[in-house]
């Protein structure tokens, strides 16, 4: 597969609306291209080509040697995608069409200091569509309308293999996936790669009291919904791995947990930062996320622990076909043998849904974000199956705030003013208290976008200051104290719940409301 063919594929994938159409395009590409090109293509789509040296700032710096920085910034603001902006703005040069493997190899193996010159040379000898594909490869963030899961599903469909089996060994395979394509061609499943595999996790669907009232509470177990991150802890013949719920191996960031995983099995639970009996807030946990390694100081100040709620495999026995209650019994015995920093998420006692509603309203800790409801006789099923598991989240906090600033969005929102800063009253001035860029419907987005365009009072680069007349209802999950924000508060997961055109700006909420909320949480 040449770079031009890859560029054409990306273009077709991006503009083919139906999932089936995308899968067909990918199937054809798997058939038409030999190893290792097709494996590299697949890795590019699943985000497994780790060419992480090529950073956005490197590309920006490079482009600014060819194009005026201000014109480039204005273009990026408009286009909303860095690779696309550079591919469109880069001065035209000659045309060539290298094989995909050649450009991947050189991006992976060129020392960082020589990368800018290499990339510039490539960009000088490619057409706009190939420049786009090349930059997408280099940065790894494709965003071309194909998820990693869709790419794997397309592979499984094309190969005639069960998707769950492909997903189970995926983490252990390396591009260009020669063993995987050999398996598709009739060879054995690559078992050696399958040590301590990730098992697709079971997910819940949202519910409420109305839906629950149709169900018999006696058939369900309940527990708190912890506001940490969902993990799968696997220990298999001496190999220990900690996975995120999407199957990403995050062991390196949590050596303290891996040390405690003295068992043989696959356990499902929540990763939390815990200090003694206390569970720290999600804000504390965030300090430890997205790090490749962790410092000793961080291990001491932010010690992690696990709170488990399910066992998929224990002592060589696959429990996934057994009932929730049976798995839970195994888990309870297992946890007793482990370090106290790994414990069991307790079951909640309730007779009626109203009992559970009362518990949900008064959780014993702020790190609880609702309750989980699980069918007692249900096996462990991969994916988001509606019925056996429900999440019944705490109601969000709501405030009415005034729109203050707006910026254009990126990705699929590019071109729309979709990043909003909103504020509340402090005396007779508005202070910004947060930013939100989702929550609204497409129709509401159009309304907000039009409002921004017609009510801009000042521009600061890409930021527009708008007339202080539009009130929005903001929903959020919690508040933290903040020294960075002038208002002294930072919201968790803020989103625009609805537009309050019925409300004049003067009737929006006051900062004191948030401060009172903060005091209650503390």
């Amino acid at each position: 597969m040449s770079l031009a063919a890859f560029a054409t594929l990306l273009e077709r994938l991006a503009f083919t609306p139906q999932r089936l159409g995308k899968e067909r395009l990918l199937a054809r590409a798997f058939t038409e291209n030999p190893d290792p090109q097709r494996g590299l293509m697949l890795a590019a789509l699943t985000g497994d080509l780790k060419l992480r040296q090529v950073t956005p700032s490197l590309l920006r710096g490079l482009t600014e040697t060819r194009v005026d920085a201000q014109l480039f910034a204005a273009s990026y603001d408009f286009v909303g995608d860095l690779a696309e902006t550079i591919s469109l703005i880069w001065p035209e040069g000659t045309r060539s069409d290298p094989p995909l493997s050649e450009v991947v190899h050189e991006l992976a193996n060129t020392p960082k200091t020589r990368l800018p010159a290499l990339i510039a040379e490539r960009l000088d000898s490619l057409g706009p569509s190939e420049r786009y594909a090349y930059l997408k490869l280099a940065t790894g963030a494709l965003r071309v309308g194909v998820s990693a899961r869709l790419a794997r599903a397309a592979f499984a469909g094309w190969a005639g293999l069960p998707l769950t089996e492909v997903e189970e060994i995926w983490h252990a395979l390396q591009p260009p996936y020669l063993e995987l394509f050999a398996w598709a061609g009739g060879d054995q499943r690559p078992e050696a790669a399958a040590r301590a595999p990730f098992r697709p996790v079971m997910l819940s669907t949202p519910t409420d009291l109305d839906q629950l009232s149709a169900l018999d509470p006696a058939e369900f177990a309940a527990e708190w919904k912890w506001d940490g991150i969902r993990i799968q802890a696997v220990s298999d013949g001496g190999v220990r791995r900690l996975y995120s719920r999407t199957g990403e191996d995050i062991s390196a960031a949590f050596p303290d947990i891996v040390d405690l995983m003295d068992f043989d099995g696959t356990l499902d639970g929540e990763l939390l930062v815990r200090r003694g009996e206390d569970i720290a807030s999600f804000g504390d946990l965030q300090q430890r996320l997205n790090r490749k390694t962790v410092t000793p100081a961080m291990l001491r100040s932010h010690p992690a622990g696990l709170r488990l709620y399910d066992a998929l495999i224990w002592d060589g026995q696959d429990l996934r076909d057994q009932s929730h209650d049976a798995r839970r019994a195994v888990l309870a015995r297992a946890v007793e043998m482990l370090d106290p920093r790994i414990d069991l998420s307790p079951e909640l006692a309730f007779q009626t849904w109203d009992d559970l509603a009362a518990l949900r309203l008064n959780p014993p800790a702020t790190v609880i974000e609702g309750v989980m409801i699980k069918r007692r006789d249900s096996p462990y099923l991969a994916g988001r199956v509606k019925g056996p598991w429900f999440k019944w989240k705490r109601d969000p906090h709501l405030i009415d705030a005034v729109l203050m600033y707006a910026q254009r969005g990126h990705g699929k929102r590019s071109g729309y003013y979709s990043d909003f800063t909103f504020g509340v009253w402090n005396g007779d001035e508005l202070v910004p208290v947060g930013k939100a860029y989702f929550g609204f419907t497409d129709a509401e987005l159009k309304d907000l976008d039009r409002f921004v365009r017609n009510n801009t009072v000042e521009r600061f680069g890409s930021v527009r200051s708008v007339a202080r007349t539009k009130v929005v209802e903001v929903a959020f999950e919690g508040l933290n104290r903040s020294t960075r924000h002038k208002s002294g508060v930072a919201m968790r997961f803020p989103r625009i719940n609805r537009i309050r055109d019925d409300k004049p700006a003067a009737e929006a909420d006051h900062l004191s409301t948030l401060q009172a909320m903060l005091d209650r949480e503390a």
Binding site: Q70, L71, S75, G80, L88, K412, S414
Partner: protein, 332 residues
């Protein structure tokens, strides 16, 4: 030198005190000069309107014969107060003109919207030397380098050939873009019937009456579903959301616009086949036009004025944004 300028921006639009008229005003005024028939430039309800005959005809088609108190078709230089006014082709849509205002020893050319890519549907842009050039900035970002229309038409025809069982539904605005597209298809040798939405009919008829050959055009409402296999259908983009589009077999949704160069824009519109065809200048044509005319000053009406201001600064050209609000920012 505190003399009153020849033209100045007002909330109602660009005003000429020495001649007491507006150019492309946004609200009804006693006397308006209109560059072209697009609805954000040509609005109904003015006292007197001066425009090209074709623009007046188009306004009458869109708004009815009584769209203004009185009208005057441009037919050579006109004296208005202390000024002399001339119209020159802008290459944008049928009837489109740049308006040159001369007086007090200064000539200002208000280009309206303009294009430099030739089209069979209108007279080509005429460069007019001037002291001040008033330009649009719709595509004034260096990312906008529109490919030649024949390349885009070839992509469209390749897609038609690749999916003979599907129809191709192309969104194009009713005045100008639709006819530019049809003209380009005819130039590329596509001589099969082209099916058009009812909203395009009268403007297409008018083009034909003006001697522009658009070939065999048929209403898209005639015929059975299967008859549209392999057909090209052109409609205003708004028609796609309606049940209207359901009459066609598995349509390939396409859109002809300069914005289609940006993938996210195409995807937001659910476009499967973006076609980059524009009736505005792209960045190379815009900057080349300014260099060619080499005016003492550039005024910028609407669009991405910040970027064009920056370019002028880099070229050490005097420029100012007019901040006229009300022209379509991102329609085309």
């Amino acid at each position: 030198m505190a003399r009153e300028p020849l033209l100045l921006p007002r909330p109602d639009g660009l005003y000429c005190p020495a001649g007491d008229f507006f150019i492309d005003p946004l609200r009804p005024v006693p006397r308006a000069l209109i560059t072209h028939g697009h609805s954000d430039h040509a609005r109904p309800g003015h006292g007197a309107v001066l425009a090209t005959r074709q623009t007046l005809d188009i306004m009458a088609i869109r708004y009815g014969e009584d769209f203004a108190g009185s009208r005057q078709a441009y037919d050579g230089p006109v004296t208005l107060g202390e000024t002399t006014v001339r119209f020159h082709p802008a290459g944008h849509v049928l009837g489109s003109a740049q308006i040159a205002v001369e007086g007090r020893g200064c000539r200002i050319v208000v280009s309206g919207d303009y294009a430099r890519v030739p089209s069979p549907t209108c007279a080509p842009f005429e460069p007019v030397p001037c002291d001040i050039f008033v330009t649009e900035a719709t595509f004034a970002l260096p990312v906008f380098r529109h490919p030649p229309p024949e390349v885009e038409i070839a992509r469209l025809l390749a897609s038609v050939a690749a999916f003979p069982e599907r129809s191709h539904l192309i969104g194009a605005y009713a005045l100008g873009k639709a006819q530019r597209l049809i003209g380009a298809l005819r130039q590329a040798g596509w001589d099969a019937p082209i099916h058009i939405h009812g909203a395009l009919q009268r403007l297409c008829d008018y083009h034909v009456a003006e001697g522009i050959d658009l070939g065999d055009l048929r209403p898209a409402t005639e015929g059975k579903k299967a008859d549209f296999a392999g057909a090209i259908v052109i409609a205003p983009p708004s028609a796609f959301a309606a049940t209207w589009a359901q009459r066609f077999p598995d349509p390939v949704i396409s859109f002809a616009s300069g914005w289609m160069q940006v993938r996210a824009r195409a995807r937001q519109r659910g476009v499967e086949l973006p076609i980059v065809i524009s009736d505005h200048v792209d960045w190379p044509h815009l900057t080349a036009t300014i260099e060619e005319l080499n005016p003492a000053e550039v005024w910028i009406t609407h669009g991405r004025e910040d970027a064009l201001m920056r370019w002028c600064e880099l070229q050490q050209r005097k420029a100012r944004p007019l901040h006229l609000v009300g022209y379509e920012d991102e329609e085309e």
